[in-house]
Symmetry: D3
Amino acid sequence: MEAPLINQLGVVKRNIVRADATARERLAAFGSATIHEAMGRVGLMKPTMRPIYAGSHACGTAVTVLLQPGDNWMMHVAAEQIRPGDIVVAAVTAECTDGYFGDLLATSFKARGAQGLVIDGGVRDVKDLTAMGFPVWSKAISAKGTIKATLGSVNIPVVCAGALVNPGDVVLADDDGVVVVPAAIASQVADAAKKREDLETDKRVKLAAGVLGLDMYQMREPLAKAGLRYID
Amino acid sequence: MEAPLINQLGVVKRNIVRADATARERLAAFGSATIHEAMGRVGLMKPTMRPIYAGSHACGTAVTVLLQPGDNWMMHVAAEQIRPGDIVVAAVTAECTDGYFGDLLATSFKARGAQGLVIDGGVRDVKDLTAMGFPVWSKAISAKGTIKATLGSVNIPVVCAGALVNPGDVVLADDDGVVVVPAAIASQVADAAKKREDLETDKRVKLAAGVLGLDMYQMREPLAKAGLRYID
Amino acid sequence: MEAPLINQLGVVKRNIVRADATARERLAAFGSATIHEAMGRVGLMKPTMRPIYAGSHACGTAVTVLLQPGDNWMMHVAAEQIRPGDIVVAAVTAECTDGYFGDLLATSFKARGAQGLVIDGGVRDVKDLTAMGFPVWSKAISAKGTIKATLGSVNIPVVCAGALVNPGDVVLADDDGVVVVPAAIASQVADAAKKREDLETDKRVKLAAGVLGLDMYQMREPLAKAGLRYID
Amino acid sequence: MEAPLINQLGVVKRNIVRADATARERLAAFGSATIHEAMGRVGLMKPTMRPIYAGSHACGTAVTVLLQPGDNWMMHVAAEQIRPGDIVVAAVTAECTDGYFGDLLATSFKARGAQGLVIDGGVRDVKDLTAMGFPVWSKAISAKGTIKATLGSVNIPVVCAGALVNPGDVVLADDDGVVVVPAAIASQVADAAKKREDLETDKRVKLAAGVLGLDMYQMREPLAKAGLRYID
Amino acid sequence: MEAPLINQLGVVKRNIVRADATARERLAAFGSATIHEAMGRVGLMKPTMRPIYAGSHACGTAVTVLLQPGDNWMMHVAAEQIRPGDIVVAAVTAECTDGYFGDLLATSFKARGAQGLVIDGGVRDVKDLTAMGFPVWSKAISAKGTIKATLGSVNIPVVCAGALVNPGDVVLADDDGVVVVPAAIASQVADAAKKREDLETDKRVKLAAGVLGLDMYQMREPLAKAGLRYID
Amino acid sequence: MEAPLINQLGVVKRNIVRADATARERLAAFGSATIHEAMGRVGLMKPTMRPIYAGSHACGTAVTVLLQPGDNWMMHVAAEQIRPGDIVVAAVTAECTDGYFGDLLATSFKARGAQGLVIDGGVRDVKDLTAMGFPVWSKAISAKGTIKATLGSVNIPVVCAGALVNPGDVVLADDDGVVVVPAAIASQVADAAKKREDLETDKRVKLAAGVLGLDMYQMREPLAKAGLRYID
């Protein structure tokens, strides 16, 4: 039997199956919270992942990278695999907050058509990245640079901030966090997200008019049944 | 003997004694740091509580909520208890960073007259909340949604981010943090805050002119007495 | 033998040797990431140190302060030692997130010519400090005030956020973090930073044009030698 | 109106109403998990509170202390208020991991009849405390000593590790954590805990014999109703 | 296209392919550090996962569980799927330290033949579990109980403490941490671990005799080449 | 001017001035808390540094190591510099919890006469190290191995867990933490520690007999003067 690619070091997969472009574009119209709900309340990275500037939004097909602590060699290998519409998702084999990515790599990634970067590590040059409009979600900001000495991998399945990401999956990130949509269900999830958002518009109007969720969602009976009691 | 309300689950108290409205309005003019000092340096929540956007400021009488991990059912129950001038303060029975609150609930809370939300958990839709100007102080931002299955309580005393909050207390929050003023002393605290702030204006002018705190506060003698020595 | 000054309590050193002013001014033109690289990838404080507003930048010669937990008495003693072009670096003898510094002290520090504050503790009045344009790097924002009761020291060597800072060292801080340049090598580091930045401009142009780092840095051969294999 | 005692500094309350001694003794027979369930799943301190040695167990009526960061003066004031059967519960006005308590204070507390200490801070001399059999629950172990300079309070209501503790409440601590039982309901809680434990013995026997919880708790139907589906 | 099982809620897979029993037994003879090295330095859970008692050691084929925050309903569903030689691996859809597991469930799991539990959450009754010799690796110990209200899943791929675990994988846990060996390569990994350990015995003897690693591993030349310089 | 050694990479200093052996032996008789007090309440590492087994105690002259994240090459270089009576103190240039040290290195260090290891990183093989009686203080336990690819340094001044350590300083570690005594004052600190401990024996007897610290330390008057008030 052959070893699964997950976690393997020293491998670059060139031909990956990217999620359908139309599905990706449709998903790009929603927020991470809506998509996560549309998927059945799963697929989120940990809330430690934060954008480097407010108002960040990116949606792309994942080019994955597995890095070693304090080493960003594989980022350069990954650059070559980026196609327009991709987003790079970088995991690290250990907890490490070093600044694996800065304005030079961002210039390169952008030139290749990358929509942004999601990294379970640190990032630097955040002022330049903000000025460039290149969004990054990371768990730290750190001026600490890295070396180029040890092999990791590109385009293998990785666990990034608690979520499994397969190369080609749709990854959407905004101010609320980062959500991963498996390529196989991108289209269905877009449908479900659309349905959910349509319903929300109507609800928002009612709530703004002062209607209570208690009534709109018909919660009074189940609450009473669960034993809620009102006292004065 | 009867059980105290603290921590009780499944209870909604309808009639709470809100702090005097004039006292609340007077307190709204100060910062959290000034009020905390005016109270004798107590009453603050932990510094893990952060506003979702810079420049946030809110002051209201507390409607309290006790939530279960991953469950925001009680938020809807709380909405009905909100009166104009209130601020909602939500505690959770366990550490949980899920996004208990988003733009729909904010629309409802705002329609009821809420000044903002303080929650020892997570919040989502922060871009929308920022656009709405609905301030939230939380310990996390997370797209992760919650369910509506288990009872908590509304308007019982709760411990939120290390501070005891009784329903009706004045809660003031700004960029520096969140401070709780017991309803019974809201007026005295406003007096003390006013006195403190008047003194500070004068001090600020002197310090800006180059006068040293060492001289202005007459610290040189006590410092020498405590043993401070200058070397070259 | 005499005890070293490091960690000593109750001492204020008046005459410190500040790094050369020209070197300081030259260093001020670079970012923390560049300087850290120019020093051989050392000299950074921990990434827990964050600026209170985006776009912060400061570079000065260090006036150091050693504080006790919950006590900011020494900040007033430090104010007198500040000269134009200095930056105050405050360490605390224990982990404590209290707000040791606010707008009054900032007014005083600014009047003395301070460029900013770096503190391994908390800060408050961040809205006022932002309006004043007085940059602070800290590990927390907290409205919690401090007392003035226990002696620390001023202008002794301190360990702040994991970095040793000697009084007179150049400390540069920006959105990426805080870096410490020993006074003795300030000039050489400025040279090395200049050289590095010149090289980067050229690289940026190439990368923006689509040249890959793999080719620009001639990485293909070492990667192959290290065993990287491409699969389809 | 008078200020509530919560959070007040500089106060020692001498006469406190301790929970009924019989109730306390009955509660001492249970574990923290059982008591927390018997109270309706509330009353626990945060899981950051850990015993200094495995197998620790203590149950007493609370003598509360409010400490300032880095200052243990009030511990000596508290010692005088201890009566046999008490447990000391210490909160700190700020996050601080200093070692507020060591073998000298433990000797004093033990001589006064204390059952142990619960402190939302640090402790030291843990080897000696272990040898003495004096149990302590804390959030840190630290050799760092404290000063005796600032007033806190004794026997006022405090928030310790997220739980409100009123002087006289029963506090039970073991390897699983620390639970607070309000004095007014100590007896009822002991009844409920007894009932719960009786039921558990029976369940344990069945489960050990291989009976599944699915059948014993009759979960199969509600699980199917909730939509659980089995696949092969 | 069908949705992948990863993350799906409300599913129990009954027939899973367990790693070869002989391979599992061979792996059980090694430590987690050796196996992780034998796999090419991958496959480890985060170091936040700690055993509840020193000297814990377990090796089994994974029965996986996906839990909701504060809800352990699925643990009972998982019990039925356990076969002798299995180890239960529980992930939670959100960060939550509640005590999902205690002595009753342990009694049931043990009766079914489980070797232990690995849970990215909290555990309670640790004194009883220690007495029973039922090892648990968790990120927290907490007396806080959970409810049984929301569906999760059993025997789907889960991400637990940063590692992907497929049902049937070999999971080995000891004092150093938890490592996951994909079922497909269990046998090869056992071979590699054996080889590694054989080499280590020899090295240990030499090092104990005072031979330096510098010489034994022939590091002097590469160190010199990398630029290491000795000064006096 | 020459660059200071602090932080320099790629350097091994062979001849270091070790603290006086008699002073080291005298210091070994005290606990970390006593020594820290004797030094004027300074010199401690952060309380995140914990021993791998209870009852650990070590005192030695420091051989310092500066490591790169995920790389333990310098540990082997350090081994050669160890003399009987030394303790190895390892800092890392970034936050990284990898297991830099295990039973093979411990065997080598022990053969060279090392008293133990203090590392601001991770350690593995803790069961073996415990059996060998080789004490280690670390911030993490992790099975994750490291590589040997990048230069750090040996016997330069390092900042380890917040404390500056110069090669040759006396480092004492026990269950309460790790304290650093500069070589120049080792003898004076031993004197002060002796004096302090003599006083404590007497106090312990009094406190055990029921004398209150309030009386023994004559605190009643200063407390009253500070404003403490007793209420009933």
